[in-house]
Amino acid sequence: MNRDDTIERIREALGKRLLDFERKTSSRIFLEVAPDTVPDVSRLMFEEIEARLQTASGVDTRDAIEILYHWALDRLDCVVTVRTRLDRHNPEIESITPVCVAAEWVEREMWELLGIRFRNHPDLRHLLLDDDWPAGKFPLRRDYEEG
């Protein structure tokens, strides 16, 4: 299957749940979905399309906290990024570790630095910060105050 066919397949599988689609270059595709759709999209990408989870990044934009899951389609030489926006005041999402175990540490890092709560994560504890880091303080948020 070539690139265009795979992208068509993803679009068909998502249907109405695909909120936004952008193909910035021929090998960089950006999809946006709602937070509830993320486990289904991850299952689609990991198990059916057989993409590889390159990494996941969390961003604190002023309106929302975004998570971007970067799925690499190595054989087709392109990367599909799935973006989802969470509520800044209560960022919560289903963990995709049961689907793709590679996400385990990435989600630990996103939790401890941005405060995103991952439901059903098998082992949510500090990764980079000290174990006795004060709870409730998330350094990479825009409104983080020292001390």
């Binding site: 980079l128 910060l129 000290d130 350094p139 983080y144 020292e146």
Partner: protein
Amino acid sequence: MSFAIQALTRSLNVFHLAGSACNNCDIEILDALTPKYDIERFGMTLVGSIRHADLILLSGVFNKKAAERLKILYDQAPKPILVIAVGGCPATGIIFRGSYNCDAPPSDYLPIDAFVPGCPPKPEAIISGVIKVIGRLRSGEARPAYENLASGGHYR
């Protein structure tokens, strides 16, 4: 000049201790250990175990986690011991100063014999820093550290 200082300055075992560094200083330290700069002619060799170390080269900004390990490693090194801070990070923290994960630079809790400024400093600068420490030891201006942190010894 005592026998101990004579022997120590003529045969230094260098131990490279990187604490959450960006690795630029680590690369420069590795360069300084290559045959081009040949520190073995000064009697210095690289060792892998902290128990064999005479001179600890610190690199990187030691964040909260790394600072704990640094204190433990410093106590594990057999005394007398010398410490040189390579680069700007272990001296002041430069751009990481005041960051959420970095408390105090190592100079606040360890006796450091020399600071080699630079980001990263050239291998020539690192070697020059070590030679200066050797000179100060031989002239009697400075002494190596003889006490562990845990036993209360801080500055000599």
